[in-house]
């Protein structure tokens, strides 16, 4: 009547309990025996499983607390203040820090729950949970990457926006948005890759996008980059310095300023701003009286 096999499942324990209903009315001492042996057969695994659940809950809580401390200590709340994600989180009565901290806590708790279920040998859901358990770290990582991507994207947008605020140019307003969505796009790509979605098409898109940026950036900044490279040499070696009389190409005068990109040369009240590239392509003549 009582299942005493070494691997009692919840099913068998339940069926034992069902069979021990007062309806069937076995003798009284027999009922007590049933409860006692049910308790005896139950503990081995179910108590352990229960312990694991409690431990997981405790660990999860601990991780939430520690993570929150670490995130706050690392200055994350101040850094991400004002980003769109943080504001949305605030609207829902939470914050990015607690979201991140709770996420890790939930992850540990769910992991503990799965371990507990495995220990308890709940057979018919075990198969499902085993696959979920394998999938869980990826999902956790994906969500983490997504949140970090969103926050970093927002932050990049804010930073670029601040830098461009001095530039009163309406067209410049598009740049922060582009930067933000680039970061978010890459984050989504990584997240999708984590949970095993085929991202080949998106990667190709990203590669095209990156290639276009490099190509057009290189074309647009060609002169600036060449001047910058030359400027580094000029600043390090100082073949001419402020106060020298020089001739660069057909410009001659007194050097007033040398910066990374340009050299200011002044003569007779006219100040020429010469790209440093020209100092290399056309050569510099130092005029000594």
């Amino acid at each position: 009547m009582i299942d005493t096999s070494p691997t009692p499942t919840v099913e068998s324990v339940l069926s034992a309990a069902v069979r021990a209903r007062p309806g069937t009315l076995p003798p009284l001492q027999s009922a007590g025996e049933v409860v006692r042996s049910a308790l005896l057969s139950l503990p081995a695994r179910l108590w352990l499983a229960l312990g694991v659940v409690v431990l997981a809950a405790f660990l999860g809580y601990l991780v939430v607390r520690v993570n929150r401390r670490i995130l706050v200590g690392a200055g994350v709340p101040e850094t991400i203040e004002g980003t769109a994600f943080e504001r949305t989180a605030r609207e829902f009565g939470t914050s990015t820090v607690s979201l991140l901290a709770n996420l890790s806590g939930y992850f540990i708790f769910i992991l503990g729950l799965i371990v507990a279920l495995t220990i308890a040998r709940v057979e018919y859901i075990a198969a499902f949970w085993n696959r979920t358990a394998g999938f869980l770290p990826s999902l956790f990582l994906a969500v983490l990457v997504l949140i970090v991507g969103l926050v970093v994207g927002d932050k990049v947008e804010l930073l670029i926006d601040e830098r461009l605020r001095g530039v009163k140019l309406p067209q410049a307003g598009i740049l922060p948005g582009i930067a933000k969505w680039s970061v978010v796009f890459i984050a989504v790509l990584i997240a999708l890759g984590q949970i095993g979605v085929d991202t080949v098409a998106l990667v190709v898109l990203l590669a095209t996008y990156g290639f276009a940026i490099v190509l057009f950036g290189g074309l647009a900044f060609r002169d600036l980059l060449a001047s910058g490279a030359a400027g580094f040499y000029l600043l390090l070696e100082q073949p001419y310095s402020i106060g020298d009389r020089v001739r660069i190409g057909d410009t001659d005068g007194v050097v007033q300023e040398v910066s990374v990109f340009v050299t200011h040369v002044e003569s007779d009240g006219a100040e020429y701003v010469v790209p440093n590239r020209r100092a290399f392509t056309e050569g510099v003549v130092r005029i000594r009286e």
Binding site: I242, V254, E257, S259, E266
Partner: protein, 270 residues
Amino acid sequence: MTSSADLLADLAADVDGVFLFSPTGSTYEDYREVDGESVVVVAQENDHDAEHYVELPLEFDNVRDRIRFGVEGAMDHGFCADGDVVACAVGVFGDSIDAVIRTPVTESMHSGIYDLFANSRPDPSVVRDVFDVAIELGKKGQKGKPVGALFVVGDAGKVMNKSRPLSYNPFEKSHVHVGDPIVNVMLKEFSRLDGAFVISDSGKIVSAYRYLEPGAEGVDIPKGLGARHMAGGAITRDTNAIAIVLSESDGLVRAFKRGQLILELDPEEY
């Protein structure tokens, strides 16, 4: 029957404009529009996004300098014109506004304080940084002893051609700019060297130890100032530079432009 408020009413009667010097947020909100005209805010930062704003590079302790700077700046921006009479609400004894001063706007008032900062060759921020260094140096001196220093700011190419080195240049092949935190210490150490510091338009310290060789004719500086001031004043006449001089004897910071003394500050008051 007169009330005490009439005193202020008389001062502020028939003025063409109102200037608020470093107003707090609530003060600005209360008086942002007077008689339908926006007030002019003169402060170090435009905290309230005032429409008419003049930036103060230094918190001039001398109220007269502060008002001059504000009025000249406003004239330059076209907020007020020659012949106007303006009321300036300004803090004389503390940071908060405690006085209203009525002043006419005249060309003769143009002492060039605003011009010194805003319309000189070097960037206004560079001029301000050099002032900061000079004031700091004047306050603390070098190892407790008063020091003198001469900074020639802007038009560095020409200044270098009108001067010669007294010894090797400690700033050779270096890329330090005034305003870098380390620079105050460096300048303090180098201030025991004789000669002038030459600083470029963008704030790069080009050289120390320079002996200035300008022609000194026609330089109009008050009698009693020493060779350092004379050299500083004279170089600004020959070039488009400005000179900021810390006097070793009386500890004052003076600024010269176009051979003329423009501004005199006491470092102890900052």
